[in-house]
Amino acid sequence: MIEFGLTMNITLGISLLTMLAIVYVPIKYKANLAAFTIVINAILTSWLTFPALYGNIAEFSLYAGALMGNIPFRIDGLSAWFILIINFTTITGVIYGGGYLKAYTASHSKLNLHWILFILFQLSMIWVCILQHGLAFLIAWEVMSLSSMLLVIFDHQNPRTIKAGLNYLVQMHISVVFLTVGFIWVYAQTGSFGFDAFHTYFGNHSNIWLFLIFFTGFGFKAGFIPFHSWLPHAHPAAPSHISGVMSGVIVKLGIYGIIRIISFVKYDFLLLGEIVVSVAVLTGLYGILNAAIHRDFKKMLAYCTIENIGIIGIGIGIGMMGIGNGSPLLYYLGFGGALLHVLNHSLFKSLLFYSAGSVYQQTHTRDMEKLGGLIRYMPKTAAIFLIGAIAIGGMPPFNGFVSEFIIYSGLLEGMKSSSLSQLSLIILTFAGLSLIGGISILTFTKTFATIFLGNEREKLPHPPHEVESRMLWPQYIIIAAMLTVAFFPQFYLNAISNILSSMFASQQGFAPPDFMHYSGIAANISIYAAVFMGLIAISWSIRSYIVRRNTDAVQPSWGCGYTGNSLKMQYTGKSFSKPLGKILNFLLIEKKQYSELKQAEIFPAKRNYASSYHDFFEHFFINSFIRKLLYITNYFKFIQNGRIQSYVIYGIVFIIAIFVLTALNIIQ
């Protein structure tokens, strides 16, 4: 297709031009220029994707030399779905980011690099969804990882930011190692890097190991446990619009990769599905448990992303079990729920990160225990955060419920299978999902209440006020999009059923009437949600009529007889979630630093008490592994001794070794 190639060239051309232009325009217009480019790129690429959503696959291939061979570019339904999500989130991100970074007008070069990288970041994510050639895919993947890493360390004077960035960089490269091994393995077996070679490979070889390699590789990006530990470091360190886009989209590209690989798998769906479901439930529970206890609200949102990846994973897993059981409905419900949750999560998580970013911009702290009562100064941000919190808790009037309901329905449908092991897994998943929902209520009531409700816990250096409209508008747009999902789910589910029916064309020709039945139910639920809103409106109007008539008195909160200064005595977020942390103290590791009073210490001096929670996997596995690795490598430190003379000797030794080995015909 000519327009496809043309569009790719145009987007690349425009982007390169504006990247140059950004360096030269005045500082005021940099963000606007970047936003303009991203909107243009988004419109052009989205234009390509609409036919794909209705089953018209766009593709062409490009000859790229002897090494790469033909690189197929292809937009099918799955790519289209993810490209649209990427475009929406990057647009809101770049508009919000323009407002968010206004405080940094002094650092010219920093902003140049930031906006250039942001454009590159969007392009690379789109390429990842389009390229269907192993090596080209890895290059795009790498560009995406590197650009996002550089975006994360925007605040690079801060050593903790650098550390988080390095952590991210290293983990992403472990991920790339797995992916490379996977692609090379397929290449070795079939002689082609194109994605079509997967069909040949999976048709003739065992499916399990290659899938698991790719699942691990993409799992790093998506944040499945135990590969999640970069998220809680990178998200808090990044500027909020970057966290929003990363959590909303980049993490989802891991999911894209996994679904893409699944679309080539031929056998063993049942086993693989069970593995995915088990990992996903544990991921969800682990993510939300950690989210419940952390007091850094961006870290909490990062853990919450891990939870939602778990929910998406549950959908994917039961979808695979559906293929394994030969149940089309289960396949549709599982993958449909997963894809819809990908969209939903990208919406409400970016919303939450943006509103959290507004709080950070005004208060300069990510520690929720230092905040409180912000609803009086930032009512709009508070309302936005509240909407995001309800939606992410999966509660009815918003979109989170729709996708969780589809996944729940999938689990109920899965109960029609006959094997005992599947049934047990499904009922435990069912309970796990409900527990995730329950803990997310705890998490978000805690976060919202600690940040926005009650009284200020500490005096802030600058009095906070509502953020500018440039930062609010993207959030309103996201809420509008969320409402369309909540109230017109049938539209989205139709698109998803188109994607799913073409994804497995080779597998079996699924007819989805039962799925349409569920889509109808989802549409009905939106009516019930509207009824519910009506009910609230009626009771509210009755209430306000009566309450207005009765004279109100406004007095301090009931202090149970205590009349002193009670601002410091408010319940903190830490104490709110402490009972949960205590029950699960084997998983949620708390470290306390304090010194006990000594026996003879009659006049104790002022002392400090600090406590922090540690990530279970990071604490027990990753850190101890790194410690051991450092211990071993310590013995080889003499090699890198910093003296140029010895480096020259190494060079000479190397050359001599090559000479001797070739002379003796050991290597050729």
Binding site: G393, M395, G437, A449, Y518, A553, Y571, S575
Partner: protein
């Protein structure tokens, strides 16, 4: 429609019966059965005092809490007769809409900035979270047993099987009763009559509510009791005609209320620290129901 009216009538008497049972068990005469309703009506007419710390969240929360309970009430069927709302998987909607109400009641408690109310909110969030899997495993097992996924279909299909289903129904009654106690913060979990804020859960959350709002919250509590009572009734009434089921409905609601009254009279509240274990143990009872369902379906072996 029928279930809506019946639950409403049951709610009028339910709490009164509990209070009356408790007072009779402790050798007192006790207030009339309708006293709780009279209290609520009086509250509706009273003026309200608001805390100066609170925001609009505190104002809307009682309304949303009340509406969520009414909405949940619309989902509950009456035996073979559907509620207003009935679709495959409606019990998920039921649980999540109640969760929304709880979400706002927790927020409104935190909105007052009082440390006591925060304490109650924290406990409420934790305990209701722990009770969630019990309800879902219970409903999941019943769905597995009957092959249906909506309240009405599950309850009308529950009786076609053998008598063992009634054994499961009794276990399910236990689970639902306990969930009702947890949701309404009743005795083994929480003591509504305690006078010490430190040991309260639900009561301490609504310390700052007064007048109309308090009336809404109390009404919602009465309705919630009757809703769980109705779910228990549904386990037993099956496809019998109206003539039997409506009296049966009131008999079962009545005995549930008396049971709750008796539990409250003869049991002490658990230590706060033990509550979590107790609630989670409920999940294992639900798992028993799941294994029972597997046995009946012959999935073992």
């Amino acid at each position: 429609m029928l279930s809506f009216i019946l639950i409403f009538i049951a709610a009028v008497f339910f709490t009164g019966i509990i209070v009356r049972t408790k007072s009779m068990a402790s050798g007192r005469k006790g207030p009339g059965i309708l006293q709780p309703i009279k209290d609520v009506i009086r509250l509706f007419r009273k003026g309200a005092v608001y805390s100066q710390t609170t925001s609009f969240i505190f104002q809307i929360a009682p309304t949303i809490y009340f509406s969520s309970v009414v909405m949940a009430m619309l989902v509950v069927p009456f035996g073979q007769y559907k509620g207003f709302i009935s679709f495959s998987g409606d019990f998920i909607f039921f649980a999540y809409i109640l969760a929304l109400g709880k979400f706002f009641s927790i927020l409104s408690a935190m909105d007052t900035g009082s440390s006591f109310e925060g304490m109650g909110a924290s406990r409420e969030a934790l305990y209701s979270m722990l009770a969630e899997p019990a309800f879902f495993i219970l409903m999941g097992s019943l769905a597995l047993l009957t092959g249906h996924t909506s309240f009405q279909e599950i309850f009308s299909a529950l009786h076609i099987g053998s008598y063992i289903t009634y054994a499961l129904a009794i276990l399910a009654t236990f689970v639902l009763l306990m969930i009702a106690m947890i949701e309404n913060s009743r005795m083994p979990i929480d003591d509504p009559k305690t006078h010490l804020e430190l040991t309260m859960i639900h009561e301490v959350m609504i310390l700052d509510n007064s007048g109309f709002d308090l009336g809404l919250i109390l009404t919602a509590g009465y309705l919630k009791f009757a809703i769980y009572g109705a779910l228990i009734v549904n386990l037993f009434i099956g496809v019998f005609p109206y003539g039997y089921t409506i009296p049966l409905f009131f008999i079962i609601q009545f005995s549930v209320a008396i049971t709750i009254g008796l539990i409250e009279s003869f049991m002490a509240r658990f230590r706060m620290g033990h509550n979590a274990q107790f609630i989670f143990a409920l999940t294992s009872v639900s798992l028993l129901i799941f294994f029972g369902a597997l046995l009946i379906l012959g999935k073992f072996i």
